[in-house]
Symmetry: C2
Subunit: 210 residues, 2 copies
DNA sequence: AAATGTTTGTTGAACGTCCAACTTTTTTAT
DNA sequence: ATAAAAAAGTTGGACGTTCAACAAACATTT
């Protein structure tokens, strides 16, 4: 059984704080339950236990379990996007260097954790079988593709290259998704370092740098 | 509700035939139930209904539901491997041409069907949360990597090239897995043709043909 | 004291497993 | 070759469990 995540800040007092805290707890609890037990093993009980609340509280914040799943997907996707963005912003370099740096961010902590990988796999499954989750994921996915596409466009402009930025973006996302999911199951087949190498190799060739 | 698949051959008579027929029916029923309802929606009832048998029969052929899942993964993986192998054997060409042809096989029917894609995603999820399925998948995956690696080795030898065949194989598998799973959710984001193009593009660059 | 947040109790439906009765095929005895 | 016995295959209901959703009671903040 998952134990509730230890809270760093002290327990919130006002209603506004409580609302935010509980919603976040429940969403994070859902992610941890999904990562631990999978889709079929995740129930309202396991989510609430992981969130450190009682069984019934979920109904206070979400109308249905599906709604929690949507919120969990948006939260996970948003957190990862934010972490990637922050890491790349911190990394001060050209557009080419930033693009090249991206796989390192994707395949190291705090993005590349067992929790994130496994929860992502479970939610990916949900995306196929849960209409609400699918709709939410489609939009997130579209935006993700656009962001990567823009990175390729910027890098190509820097190099004075003409490339098919969309195809390049789709390819890179496919490679990294494939490695993310493959690695989420078989840690012993590929290491994170190899994954980074494969992705960087892809970028290098797409930008004709070799 | 899924209707049982229409049988082409007439009803089997001998015990040996019946055993084979029923086992296959149940495994295919499991795949169709997984593709239709996902992991959480697949029950002994849905499997047996899809297989055209009564609820109780599953216990006669498999000790547990998990055992059916393992059999379903092995069956699906085996069927796809066989179809790819047959398509490539039929295609009479050099090792380079065969490798180049592989994505076309992976991303067109009868390999690239909604049933196969969706069942595969569901089983991939199972692989993470079901020990028996994970063990089975690990071996299947290893063999798959080795086969693709050998194709790259053969192609490189033909071209008089020195390449990292294993990394090339892992990369191609990652791309195609990513596209398979991405496409199985969002048909409108990428088409099969684009997926083939992206994979062939990867192979071309790995073999330094551009 | 009113509103909001939270826990606990209840309900009906659906689940997987088990199993006793039934049908069909195969073996044995004549 | 035929009939009886045995084995194998199949069915659907009973059982105990678990679930999501609902309802009611309790606690805390405003």
């Amino acid at each position: 059984m998952i134990s509730p995540k230890s809270t760093k800040k002290q327990r919130p007092r006002t209603h506004a704080e409580i609302n935010e805290y509980r919603r976040k707890s429940l969403v994070e609890g859902a992610l941890r339950s999904l990562a631990e037990y999978g889709v079929s093993g995740t129930t309202v009980s396991t989510i609430c236990t992981a969130a450190g609340s009682s069984r019934g509280l979920l109904g206070h914040y979400f109308a249905t379990k599906d709604e929690v799943m949507v919120a969990a997907l948006e939260y996970l996707f948003g957190q990862i996007s934010l972490m990637v963005k922050e890491s790349l912003d911190k990394f001060d370099g050209t557009a080419v260097e930033k693009l090249h740096q991206m796989p390192s961010v994707l395949f190291t902590a705090p993005v590349f954790t067992q929790l994130n990988r496994t929860a992502f796999l479970a939610l990916w499954h949900e995306t196929r079988f849960n209409d609400q989750v699918r709709v939410a994921n489609r939009q997130l996915y579209r935006n993700y593709i656009l962001r990567v596409e823009r990175m390729f466009t910027a890098a190509a402009r820097e190099l004075g290259l003409k490339i098919d930025a969309r195809r390049a973006a789709l390819g890179l996302i496919a490679v990294s998704d494939g490695l993310w999911l493959g690695l989420s199951i078989h840690d012993d087949v590929i290491t994170g370092e190899q994954a980074i190498e494969i992705c960087q190799n892809y970028i290098t060739r797409e930008l004709k740098l070799d």
